[in-house]
Symmetry: C2
């Protein structure tokens, strides 16, 4: 089997990761033991840390914390309650408990989301996300968050689509948050975006957001469950970067794990990814070294 | 503007319905006031009575009632409870209360679904549906139900796809029931099928069906809500045939209502469609006369 052509995955350096991706994807499309019928060619990728920068915090946290800081300022009685208290006091340890799905923390965030948006129509939330995208910059790089998408992953989307894969993003973050920028940033339709979401009802001719989640968080075991609900299948290929992606990677035939080892161009950390890195060794997932496997990280040269 | 070419919609007779569909769809794709950007080109269609025969009962009822009749026979204590009692006593009035979403009837069906499949993996349900498709015939036509799909609607799917629409089916019936045959029968992927569905959890490496619905029934106001959850949009074009489709048709720019007026080739009835037929007049939806607008009804010549 020949390697990838220079036109394919141009931001990927030659090496084990690129070779493994190429061998798997080509194998899916050729007669042989690795062949996958086109309807079954579903790929699913995590968002934070897999598709874009998640340090110093997942971008949606920046969006939510700005909104809730404003609410606490407008209504000081809120500042004694979580999560507003943690925001006012800059208690980041509180939010780190979300990554391990601490039920008490998750509950306060759900309550705060409902306080902000329950009873509103989708355009209200979308306009707020749009304004955040257009005006807020990431602290290290000084550009808007959606410009911090990883160029090699966009090329992987193109490569998969050229081989008749349907590409989905499945994030523990907000479905409706991601859908605002998915089409322009990732080149996939809104219906290919899966995530944690509020339930909506259709009342008096309008879609109205409820205070309840639809189907639980799309984190950990919630990822295969949400992917099945959306697509009727489990993914053949999955990409992630953290412990909350383990279940999604486990159900796939090919698992890709992005390792953040590039302090110069991005960040170097393995917090929250310790188990996934160990599981990658056990299960033979393809670990992508940002430092060694990616010739470029972002679509443009950044000031940072 | 010229009319549709003979290659387009060949099973549709020339007439007001075909002309209206053609004018709307062409208008979506040409510069002008009717233009719709490609990402927004979502079409959504009901299933029972819109895509296939729903008389003497919606096909999924045939599937469920056979299963529950067997369960009542195997366990006679069930026969004193609903819905098993109605099945044993052939009390069809009980099931007609489902069409008007009688909460008591809906609750008994949910309970019976949970009794049959809660705790099972998706392949169990899929195999049962597959066997039903392959072995059970519709009483009037003597062929399997999926062969009773409407040929003109399949051609409408092709026509819409050729104009860069993404076509979805949204039914009050079961999402996972329809997904078994969607790809071979309708030519759309499983992820383009929206319907009422059980919530699934991922437990010990497997997807397991719960006894709860995910997001309520996709009937009436549930249709726009489910379509938004799946796609992030409301449909530009929608097709239905009954009162439970009114909300979905109302949110679309173009509404298509199939009128069952062809006793010779299919069935003639307006029960459950009285309000939708009246609303079509008020709102200018395009009413499709099966008798006059469709040159052929089914993909093949049938014995019935």
């Amino acid at each position: 089997m020949s390697g990838p052509s220079p036109r394919e995955l141009p931001s990927w350096n030659d090496g084990a990761a690129k070779t493994a991706i190429h061998a798997f994807v080509e194998g899916c499309t050729r007669p042989g033991p690795g062949f996958v019928a086109p309807p079954d060619r579903i790929a699913a990728f995590d968002n934070d840390g897999t598709m874009w920068v998640e340090q110093p915090a997942p971008p949606q946290f920046d969006f939510l914390l700005r909104r809730w800081a404003q609410e606490a300022q407008d209504d000081p009685t809120l500042a004694s309650e979580q999560p507003y208290k943690a925001i006012v006091e800059r208690d980041m340890a509180f939010f780190e408990r979300l990554a391990v799905q601490d039920p008490a923390v998750v509950a306060t965030l759900e309550k705060a989301m409902a306080h902000s948006w329950a009873g509103t129509t989708p355009d209200v939330f979308e306009a707020e996300v749009r304004e955040w995208i257009d005006t807020i910059t990431q602290p290290r790089f000084g550009v808007g968050y959606t410009r911090l998408v990883y160029q090699p992953m966009l090329e992987l989307f193109d490569y998969l689509k050229a081989h008749d894969f349907r590409v989905f993003v499945c994030s523990g973050g907000g479905r409706d948050f991601m859908r605002v920028f998915a089409e322009e940033t990732w080149g996939i339709h809104k219906e290919n975006v899966i995530g944690s979401a509020a339930d909506y009802s259709f009342v008096d001719g309008r879609l109205v957001r409820s205070d309840q989640l639809l189907g639980g968080l799309a984190l950990g075991p919630g990822k295969p469950a949400h992917i099945f609900a959306q697509t009727g299948r489990l993914p053949v290929l999955a990409g992630g970067n953290a412990d909350v992606d383990i279940e999604m990677l486990t159900v796939a035939s090919f698992g890709l794990l992005v390792n953040h080892d590039d302090a110069d161009r991005e960040f170097a950390y393995s917090k929250g990814a310790e188990r996934s890195l160990a599981t990658a060794q056990e299960r033979g997932w393809t670990v992508v070294s940002m430092k060694n496997d990616w010739a470029t990280v972002f679509p443009e040269v950044l000031p940072g």
